[in-house]
């Protein structure tokens, strides 16, 4: 008997050409059997996910050190999936509530990138403690570290996010209809999608952007015209103009979206009725209509909050991971249903990981480098990229004495690997990731 996932994959392979039919003709640059379409989907885990308990190296030395230091927060074998073997032959296990993701790791659609974080340049414990090399500003602060994950600029503030700068490049290449933004958030405003020339669109999952209450009558048309005319006039109040700019985007984006979504058939994939499930369902529905929208390169932004586990961490993970894991798995299924699994890469970000040493109240405090997940048909999965830290308080990977891992892979390297696959050429990567040149390996190899 087929597993549900196996069935979907088989189905997509056999009816792939049929599945494309609702989208009309393939774009002119399409190659091979699939459309020329690529999407990056960010899932931001707000609050700082303690990735020490997301995925674990299971060699005896690591697990023993982990168990000893983690105390009340230590996961036991009962709290973990079965031990899996990476492509390099190393044992790892996931939190048991991430069973769907572990399954995708086994089937090589999902990869782990270990100990990623904000860096200006490569850093060691000695350099950090002696303050002899540039370090990211305001380490361990939620707001600053969230922004550094979204901008890749560790030295300070930035007016644009890395995905926004990628969207700026995409806009110059004629991939997308100019009528719709390349970056779409279903989780509110984020700096990640702000470009220098391009701006994001935000949707609430399941809700239209179309302004309600208008019809074809003359008086309704007059009211509509009055509203629209106002958007073009300068009130002399800069913030009023900023508000008008947003309403103008709402109206134009609503027109593009409404027309495309109204023609789409319902997805068969069933998504969990959770916030992250509904966000990913909305993203899948947009991907479904990419051809109608005229989009061939899109970046999406979703989020799940609640990871600031200073106390009660085990229970909190046991509540959050069962929201995250099935939603991501459903989203992968939906990309298979659409024949788009190879065209969509999903990845996680988070403020930071947390201290390996527990804190009063069965939680952990703000730390630094964290493990992240990358998923999609194009991902070279079943592997851990980068290096797990050595579990020792005050050890070689610890910024101080509580197990705050100094990252061994930078956000720039992580993002550049995603963006290279997405279609940002080497020549443009330096603009998207200005610190990338500080790291010898510009690509991590988990895609393509």
């Amino acid at each position: 008997m087929f597993s549900r996932r196996g069935f979907v994959r088989l189905g997509a392979a056999t009816v792939g050409s049929l599945a494309l039919r609702p989208f009309g003709l393939l774009p002119a640059l399409a190659q091979g059997s699939g459309p020329d379409y690529r999407a990056l989907v960010c899932i931001f885990l707000y609050g700082g996910n303690d990735s020490n308990n997301t995925v674990l190296p299971m060699d005896d030395a690591s697990f023993s050190a982990y168990t000893s230091i983690r105390g009340q927060l230590a996961l036991t074998s009962a709290d973990l999936t079965a031990t899996l073997t990476t492509a390099s032959g190393n044992p790892v296990a996931f939190h048991a509530k991430l069973a769907e993701l572990a399954s995708l790791f086994s089937s090589k659609e999902l990869a782990v990138v270990a100990n990623v974080g904000s860096l200006v340049q490569p850093l060691t414990r000695a350099l950090y403690q002696a303050q002899q090399a540039p370090v990211p500003v305001n380490l361990f602060s939620h707001s600053d570290q969230q922004l550094q994950w979204q901008t890749s600029i560790a030295q300070g503030s930035s007016a644009t996010g890395w995905a926004g700068r990628a969207a700026d490049y995409i806009a110059t290449q004629g991939y997308n209809s100019p009528a719709f933004p390349s970056f779409l958030s279903v989780a509110g405003n984020s700096l990640m999608g702000a470009g220098a020339q391009t701006q994001p669109v935000e949707m609430t999952p399941g809700q239209s952007l179309q302004l309600k209450g208008f019809n074809s009558s003359a008086q309704s048309q007059a009211r509509w015209d009055a509203l629209n005319n106002l958007l073009t006039l300068d009130s002399g109040i800069a913030l009023a103009q900023a508000a008008n700019d947003t309403v103008a985007s709402t109206i134009s984006d609503a027109t593009a979206l409404g027309g495309a979504l109204s023609k789409a058939a319902a997805l068969k994939t069933v998504f969990p009725k959770t916030s992250i499930g509904e966000q990913l369902q909305q993203v899948a529905q947009i991907i479904q209509v990419q051809a109608t929208l005229g989009m061939r390169r899109q970046i999406f932004f979703c989020s799940l909050g609640g990871f600031d586990t200073h106390t009660n961490e085990l229970n909190t993970h046991n509540s959050l991971y069962p929201q995250l894991s099935p939603a991501i798995a459903a989203f992968y299924d939906a990309t298979e249903e659409l024949g788009m699994a190879q065209n969509v890469t999903t990845f996680t970000e988070s403020d930071f990981s947390r201290t390996l040493q527990p804190t009063s109240g069965d939680g952990s405090d703000h730390a630094w480098g964290s493990h992240h997940l990358v998923l999609g048909g194009a991902v070279q999965g079943g592997q851990v990229y980068g290096k797990f830290p050595t579990f020792a308080l005050g050890g070689s990977d610890d910024a101080d004495t509580r197990g705050r891992w100094i990252p061994t892979t930078s956000i720039d390297q992580y993002g550049a690997t995603l963006c290279s696959w997405f279609g940002i050429p080497q020549s443009a990567l330096a603009t998207v990731f200005p610190n990338l040149a500080n790291f010898s390996a510009g690509q991590l190899g988990f895609l393509g």
């Binding site: 669109v201 007059a222 009055a226 005319n229 109040i237 913030l239 709402t250 804190t359 009063s360």
Partner: protein, 522 residues
Amino acid sequence: MKHLLWHLGIASALMAIPAWSQSSPAPMSDRAAARLLDQATWGPTPASIQQLQSVGINAWLQAQFAAPVSDLPDQPSMNAAGKTNTALGPVQSAFFQNTLSGQDQLRQRVAFALSEIWVESAVTVHPAYAQPVYWRVLRDNAFGNYRDIMKAVTLSPAMGEFLNLANNNKANAKKGTAANENYAREFQQLFTIGLVQLNPDGTVMLDANGNPVPTYNQAEITDTARVLTGWTYPVAPGATQKNNNPAYFIGQMIPVEAEHDTTAKTVIGGVQIPAGQTTSQDLDSLLDALMQQSTMAPFVSAQLIQHLVTSNPSPQYIQRVSSVFTNDGTGASGNMQAVIIAILTDPEARAADDPNATPNANFGHMREPVLFMANVLRGLNGTLGASSAIQNQTNQMGQNLFSAPSVFSYFSPQYRTEKGLPGPEFQLYSTATAAARADIVNSILYGTLDKSTQFDLSPFTSVGASISALVDTISYTFFYHGMSNSLQQAVTSAAAAASSPQKAAQAALYVALTSGEYQIVH
């Protein structure tokens, strides 16, 4: 004469109102009164404009400081099913009722601003009964002293739960645990001094290399976490005191010396806290050290200005207010009444009272959803019935009352618009929530929000037959009697095409209330 008020010293403003100010020969214009009321209340009404005009700004402020205090209703701890009662609706709708009928408008506005600095949230503090109790801490200290706010919030059990000061035990070698850093960090980063040292005018202090100077380092956070060990929840009625009491949200947290780290610590500014102090003594030492930080005055002052008056104050405005925060004229710092007077009577806040003043294009701030909803309710004569679900509307716009997504509130004081202008409230304003905002206006004017929330459009429909009278009424109610020419033209064209006086009023109000000009308190 209209400039006279600006030049009053703070010390004299705090004294009893001299007779001459009450007989000032230049009464406030509608515009001046309405602007102040948009900054200091939930929105001007014809009655509040007339009241302010009749007594003048100083007497009005003093009356507000003394006004009877609105309350939020206590909630049962358990629901009918015997489970923890987490239903916040009654508290949220009572909040909006207070915006309509409470006499303590300024106190509510300041307490609300404080609630977005000293954030505590039902997202993790689940029992509904905790929220009115926490709100009272901010309300009762809104016109007091900032140090008292620091202490009262720190010892409030809801904050203790939210940022884990409650049951923050000293390090335990056997369990391998350290003191919890959560409150130590956010107390300083968000509530008192921020991450970088500030000059008195709010600009960032730079070192010799041009880099910002941090306020603290990680070692000081770790030590501050140890200072803040040893507090537990108040003892619930009928319960027995333990070292770690279970969550209970009424009263103040209590010290437990057995769980307090009594070793010496180094905290903010390098201040040494000696070994051997009690839990309470350590807290007072920390509060004293924070009050000594010159960064606190501009850090707090700038945020209060942003909440009440403008997102983008000049350094000079911040400096004038922060100098009052530092010293109210009697040598005391943190005097909230003096700070509020300084913010609201500052020349920069009052400049546009004069319609002929040179406009400052960057002045003002966006009505966040709660301000937008309250202002519309007051301007359109809203009434809230017992089952009103008005709070659902602000939730649609991204602001669920008492439920900020994290301690970082609904929006950051540093958030900027797409063009780079500071505009904190714009963090909540997206293509999605802009549509929600317009759709709420549509529902109010052409349908209903919910059957228990009513509006009275008769002041507008009754003049709908005369477009100029209609425009004038809308301008008086929502635009300080100073609607721009372009908005007047847009409103006029929409009203002129309408088929009845009622439809003219609806169309005119729709265009006015969805305009960018209305979204910005200016």
